[in-house]
Symmetry: D3
């Protein structure tokens, strides 16, 4: 089984961290490949950046389809382009916010989230509502460390995340979801420190994607998620009109 984990930003070091987190939990016989687009933003911390990350993500899905990938993980906590990716991927596609919420929901009655910047919490609440988890989320807190500083050991990110996780537990949550793919590498350590289950969305999405493949399940195709109709694309994005037919030649990533 081949699982492709797509980091929708263009920062390769973050892609490596994400790939390691995914590979660490994949079952025997599963190949995990972490990739990122060559077009789009270096990190995603606004609606603007999220929107501009989606074409590159969709290009990676097209490449994956050409390569015979079985399932995809979208490794940014805003789950950018998830619906669009589901329309064009043959196998299941899982977002890491989606996966983190699903896993946490099975660990007790309610859970909280600790993410990077407060400006992203609106989107996280919107996703929780969309997936059905609004009533299970106690709160969504921010440690106010930007995505690309999470990897910097001088940022104090891990300590700040531990602190916010403790506040989440004090508010009555049974578990905590970490709200950024860049937090994947200190998830286990945070869990030990706070003495409660902590969910990394990248790892969760990887095993859930494997699970669906194992169950023989993929996105339903009879309505909203049918393949998009063939249609002209213009200008910079002209190359994308061939995407649904599986081969793609746009951009440096192809």
């Amino acid at each position: 089984m081949r699982i492709r984990v797509v980091n929708p930003n263009t920062t390769a070091s973050m892609t490596r961290t994400i790939g390691a987190a995914a590979a660490a939990v994949a079952g025997p016989g599963t190949v995990v490949e972490a990739v990122n687009p060559t077009m789009g933003p270096a990190s995603i911390e606004s609606h603007y950046e999220e929107a501009l990350a989606v074409p590159g993500l969709l290009e990676q899905i097209a490449i994956g389809e050409r390569d015979g990938v079985d399932a995809y993980v979208v490794a940014c906590f805003g789950d950018p382009g998830l619906d669009a990716a589901r329309e064009v991927a043959g196998g299941p596609v899982i977002g890491i916010a989606e996966a983190g919420f699903h896993a946490a929901a099975m660990l007790g009655r309610r859970f909280g989230v600790v993410t990077t910047l407060a400006r992203t919490t609106g989107r996280a609440h919107e996703l929780a509502e969309r997936y059905g988890f609004a009533s299970l989320v106690t709160e969504i807190r921010a440690c106010e460390v930007p995505v690309l500083r999470l990897e910097d050991p001088t940022s104090g990110a891990r300590e700040l995340v531990v602190e916010e996780c403790r506040a989440v537990l004090a508010g009555g949550a049974d578990a905590v979801v970490l709200g950024c793919a860049g937090m994947a590498d200190f998830c286990a350590e945070v869990s030990r420190e706070i003495g409660a289950p902590v969910v990394d969305g990248v790892a969760a999405a990887t095993v859930l994607a494997e699970s669906l493949v194992r169950l023989g399940l993929t996105t339903g195709r009879r309505g909203e998620y049918a393949a998009p109709p063939a249609k002209p694309m213009s200008g910079l994005l002209a190359g994308f009109e061939r995407l649904p037919s599986a081969a793609v030649t746009v951009g440096a990533g192809a």
Copy 2:
């Protein structure tokens, strides 16, 4: 006052129809300009196309900022890129689904929606939930006429829309929202035929955008909708990193 109505697809004839609908309701002294991007899909009927329409839309917002536009209308019923546009536009930005729902909500207790293809109704329900109107929407029906066939008099679109509107009224709605910018030109006629208020989102968004400008109001900037942080953009979208600073030179539309 200058209101720019952005049709996020690349079909110029549809932009003209939309511009006429907006101009017909604008107040004295308001200049309405209808534009469309030169990059992206010819029409929007899937999540995939919606995602690929957003960069072109954001480019138009950047051009509008350079031109001193006071407010924007996003003229596609999926309200694509609305949050991103709000981050980078100085004035208010209104989506036509958003506007149609707001107007209809003031005409009674509940309203229904008649849109083009059934595959788009999931997104419409999601928007109704996001804006707070889920409990006011009786149902969202589709006439199954593709967007670009709405203008074709042989498509029977108007008759099909009338029929679906009547079904919506029979279900207890006080008003009907038409769920596509391409239906703007037969809104009044449909209303007369069914004997109930029918809302065209393009017209509604135009007067609501004017209203907010008149009230001196625009998007709050202290949290989620602050200007995005400066950040490198790569590949095909490299030109977009300058967007927040208001001038843009990418693509044929610039």
Copy 3:
């Protein structure tokens, strides 16, 4: 276009403040007339007073219908008698809580409210729920200044409102709605002080009422909001039975 703004209490000085706020935002060519009933309470700060303000409000609607008014604003934050007014008015009727919520909803993801007395916040929550905005309202705070003391410069009302607005922003709101018609005259000043959008319901309702008239829209008449059946009225309210047929002779206001 004639917009009639009905202050449902009997305090003429407050009617003048309200009228000025409405006139300040009305478009060119729109005539704004502010009126108040001669029957009912001097101000509205309880369910009891709200209920007793409604007959006088309905009398003003009847007078408006005789006068050929195009649309009405109900200028009390409890939106008293709104459903009843919609049954008997030919044109649209907008409440100021309703209008404030609609305007604020288009300025970001969520908004808060600052009102007069805590005892009125239950009604404000009920209205938010009714109009669909319950999930968008972060909180409703009270400055504990009675309605008729708002105009008194020694009440410190403006400062108290600023303080509560700041608390609302700290709680994550993108915008603030002022929850009393009597706050209309210091709305702009409060907005400048807190650096975030602040919505006055009177102004918002005025431009929304104009918007609906411009769109050719009014309350749907096929169900709940059809004209009430002709029916005997007894006692003090005997004069009201002729109201639906547009002429009214009861009370000192006629």
Copy 4:
């Protein structure tokens, strides 16, 4: 114990039916008195009529306070003036929609409602939402018999109600609430015919009012439902300003 059942319309024959239904279920030692105002509409089938029924209802509460009444029932399915009545009554006040919903909620998982005119179903849904029962209500159906024709044996009202009740059961409800005080006298018969529990709101409100008195409970007075502030009332309603202090002399009912 004295329970006063207030029919908020002015039709004395309906007051007698209501009084009989209440008396039939009251416990030993409880005195049930059915009254109606002398001001206001002959029946209530619109928001307009409901609003105009409230002053007369509040006058009856004032009279009841003077008479030492222990608890009140508001016997119209729109529960008009309930919040206002709670502010001025010393003892508990129960609406018949409220009571019908509470009783039905204890008879299974979900219940439906059969009422008079379809135009009143919006209000019934609003009340279900307000009291918390929205998720328990399967549907609200109308038999389209006007209130004052319910008593007419040639109206076929009972047969129509049976038919609508059967439709409610087919939709998965465990019980049915009859949505009009005027249906009180055929409740038991309908229940026998359909073989399922049928709740008359008048009877339910009577025993619930008794229950609260027996428990020593009444409306909480520390916030929203504190006695209204003393305040001038003008015009036709001038007499109402003394209501909170318990004696009232306005109108023919005093």
Copy 5:
């Protein structure tokens, strides 16, 4: 009328306290009998204990059916086994959380709950949601006194409950529900101390059970709550297969 109040734990002293609270509010002519099972846990403070209390509770219902009981109260705030009891009892069955919520809902707009251990608040929230009261509950607080220590005058339970009730009122509730049958005996005293209505679920359930009997109402039998199908039971619970047919001989309680 015979009301049987079933304390689902095996602690006889608590059964006596519960019986006294129920008898104190029952109407003239109503016989209240308080019983407890002989199988199961000494008190209920976890899901595990709640689950193991249910067989004993159902045995008591079977005994009650044999004895001709008219209605039942389940006197534990988790309302254990309520749905199962409704399937096998001929008359109505009321849980004390259910009853407390219903009574409190009629005393204002919103109410709070004060219970024993924080670990039980998840279940209380779940019940509030199930019965429809989630939007009416302001908060559920715990005094952290175990059930069986409530009776111990050295536990300081009453003082701790008063303190938590005051916090509930400060949060905007109009009334408070006490969340444990073991708090029944100091309910009135707590209410006097805090100056607001305080509801004891045992008393509330007793008068509500009487009310339903007086109305001639019981659980609807046409769907979910029909008598369970006849079916073999094995092992320790073999005796329970005869329960639906009304006579039971298992255990020491029979």
Copy 6:
């Protein structure tokens, strides 16, 4: 890794079917063991039977703890005893309704359910609400085949399930969940016939339980799901008081 699948009824043939479905999807190296209690009902089709199945289920969890099991599946669509099992199991516990809902939620926007008897749909709706999926469930339909007749090839169960699944798809669902462990063996065949994803809860729960173990996650223990306090148990259930300490000797299953 050892996953124990507990069929909470006592029918061994059904346990074998369930075990086969679980084993078919388990990953390499995972041992799946299907067991059932020796006490309790032969099948579960009512609240009464569900309640009486829980002690036997908890006994199986105790046995599993003694045996060093890593995770548990509760293989009945009512998810009986799930909260109690989570308190006493060291590893994660997944219900098959829970698992089916989670899996289906990742295959599109909304899903429907096809179950056995209509009388069980209330419980299924309650679980959907509890887990957060109420807004994602389009409908829950019943084929009206009793649990133990599903295995009988003359029952026509598979054909009836196909028919109900088609109705679910026509209602707009993207996927279907089969609502009974006894339907596990024809899940794949039904999916092929209807051309849409069909989820068997047993298989889904098995891979989700594996997933959580792989992620190193189990139930949070700091609040509601801490181990139950030590406490006396009486009568038939006396043996259960030792359960939390991991060894159990009651009943034939021990």
